[in-house]
Amino acid sequence: MEDQFVIGGKTLKSRLFLGTGKYGEDAIIPDCIKAAGSQVITVAMRRIDFNSPQENIMQYIPKDCILMPNTSGARTAEEAVRIARLGRAAGCGDWVKVEVVADSKYLLPDNEETVKAVDTLVKEGFTVLPYMTPDLYAARRMRDAGAAAVMPFGAPIGTNKGLRTRELVQIMIQELDLPVIVDAGIGKPSEAAECMEIGAAAVLVNTAVATAGNPVLMASAFRKAVEAGREAFLAGPSAVKEIASASSPLTGFLRKD
């Protein structure tokens, strides 16, 4: 049976989404995308710097990738909507990663504002993937508003601490009938594999690849980890032998005659 992964009507082969920020040298990005096998690539939207007006990330992103602009910098739903519209006007499709962060100390997303932004953008025809603090109620509201997937963080962005929110993410995977993509916090390939083993639909990685000693090699390692984790999820884990319980038998009475 083929393992289909469909978001916003697009069938994807790769379950590893890759960010394009924080690279020491942007010229390495094409090789990282190739090594990662990623199809969905995130970018940010910024005011241009008139002092270096030629610099353009787009030259490093293969044309066949799905571009997913984020709304980073937005502190309210309104700002996120504005940035999303600008992203679409740039002519790169209608995918958007909604990101509303009003807390500059921990960079935690504001779910309430995010729900509002999802609602507006879905109505405008965007394929919306909200980045969120893992919370089932908020995720349900985003689903009801028409989100194509939800993207809870594994740990605060940029911390590389791994899947610290495992219990909450697992509940979301169990309860929601739409893809759950772990975004942010994943520092090592083994952590990406862990996300996939518990049933995440995909992971989004940026810092861990961009700031690795060898980003291209790390991108390749993440690809293998995501594939391995997915296969493990599909295969179903084997039993771990538990130490025999010392409590008294509960079913002995069935055989006492």
Partner: protein, 375 residues
């Protein structure tokens, strides 16, 4: 999307083939999984999982999960039959309209007397029952009874015929907070044969009723299949799937199941069950439910014997009936009629509470208090 669509997905599933193909290895693996899917649940219901050592392993897991989720407590309730007038002809039921039994319904004065008697017994959660007759016991009558009973008890569950959503809402407004309805059998082809006439003949309407209660805001909804009408493994599976469906769609409603087995009842050609449901089957079904849905309520009625009921404490049960009478007007004095079925555990509330305490559990008489709109 309703549960019927989920049922359709499994209607032609090769149950026998799957169940007989399960190995002890499969059972251990299913038992081990942190999140169990539908086929893991079915695996736990297989003959392979009934092997004594495996059943014990599953029972231990169910025990731990029950204590983690519900603590060492059992909530007590008692049934109150308001009427036994019925237009249905369910072949296994003592209220079958072709049975020549005394028929009656309680007056509101008699309802008050029953309510007082139940309160004197110490019970604060009740379930009220009628036969199916919109003419004799319309929703407005049930609502009148509820308003009377609110003065004596804290939680009222209805187990009546299928209503419309606005009627469920109306009863909710009147003070009902919980709902019980057994699908009897989930087998769509068998169902009309066992319910040959009367309003209950409509399989889909009955199947959809629990969802209507969820939509109407009920605090808890209790499902069940009458075990013995069809293969109990399949029926248990489809009941559990029904519960899982409702729990996912209506996270605000507590979901529970009962595991009733067919009991002898009055009636001319007495009904012969399709399959034998022995004690081990009930234990396996209960443990499988608990492992599949750790937060699921599990109700055990006085259809079961005292000895067996006592052994189920700790296995997964969260709610038990006590001081049960299945006759109309049976709490306050001399019953006015024959009962719906024979009860096997005649213990009164005090005796039941003592038995629960003897197992190291606490009997709970009241576990919630609705905030009244008029307060």
């Amino acid at each position: 999307m309703s549960y019927y669509e989920v049922y359709r997905q499994y209607k032609s599933f090769p149950f026998a083939e799957f169940l007989n193909g399960v190995t002890p290895f499969d059972v251990r693996r299913a038992l081990q999984k942190e999140q169990k899917g539908p086929l893991d649940f079915l695996t736990l219901l297989s003959p392979a999982a009934a092997e004594p050592a495996l059943l014990e392993e599953m029972a231990q897991k169910a025990h731990t999960l029950t204590e983690h989720n519900f603590g060492k407590t059992i909530t007590l309730f008692t049934p109150l039959y308001l009427a036994n007038i019925c237009e249905n002809a369910c072949v296994y039921c003592g209220f079958n309209r072709t049975n020549h039994i005394g028929r009656c319904k309680l007056t509101l004065e008699e309802v008050a007397r029953e309510g007082r008697a139940i309160r004197d017994e110490g019970i604060r959660h009740i379930i009220i029952l009628t036969g199916e007759s919109r003419a004799a016991t319309p929703p407005s009558y049930i609502a009148d009874c509820v308003r009377v009973l609110k003065q004596y008890v804290d939680s009222i569950c209805i187990e009546v015929y299928s209503l419309e959503e606005d009627e469920y809402r109306m009863l909710f407004e009147a003070g009902v907070d919980a709902f019980t309805m057994f699908q009897e059998t989930y087998n769509e082809d068998l169902y009309p044969k066992l319910h040959p006439s009367g309003p209950k003949h409509d399989y889909k309407k009955r199947l959809n009723s629990p969802e209507l209660a969820c939509r109407a805001g009920y605090h808890s909804v209790n499902l069940g299949a009458l075990l013995g009408l069809d293969d109990w493994r399949k029926e248990t599976f489809l009941t559990g799937m029904h519960a899982a469906y409702l729990m996912q769609k209506y996270p605000g409603t507590d979901c529970a199941v009962s595991l009733p087995r067919i009991r002898p009842c009055v009636g001319e050609g007495s009904f012969k069950p399709a399959c034998d449901v022995d004690d081990a089957a009930i234990v396996q079904a209960m443990a499988a439910y608990r492992c599949f849905l750790p937060r699921l309520g599990i109700t055990v009625s006085t259809r079961e014997t005292p000895d067996f009921r006592d052994h189920l404490i700790g296995l997964g049960v969260t709610k038990m009936s006590a001081a049960s009478v299945t006759e109309v007007g049976g709490h306050a004095g001399k019953p006015k009629t024959d009962g719906q079925f024979e009860i096997s555990d005649p213990r009164n509330v005090e005796e039941m509470a003592a038995a629960i305490r003897a197992h190291g559990y606490q009997p709970v008489y009241k576990d919630w208090e609705p905030l009244r709109r008029d307060a």
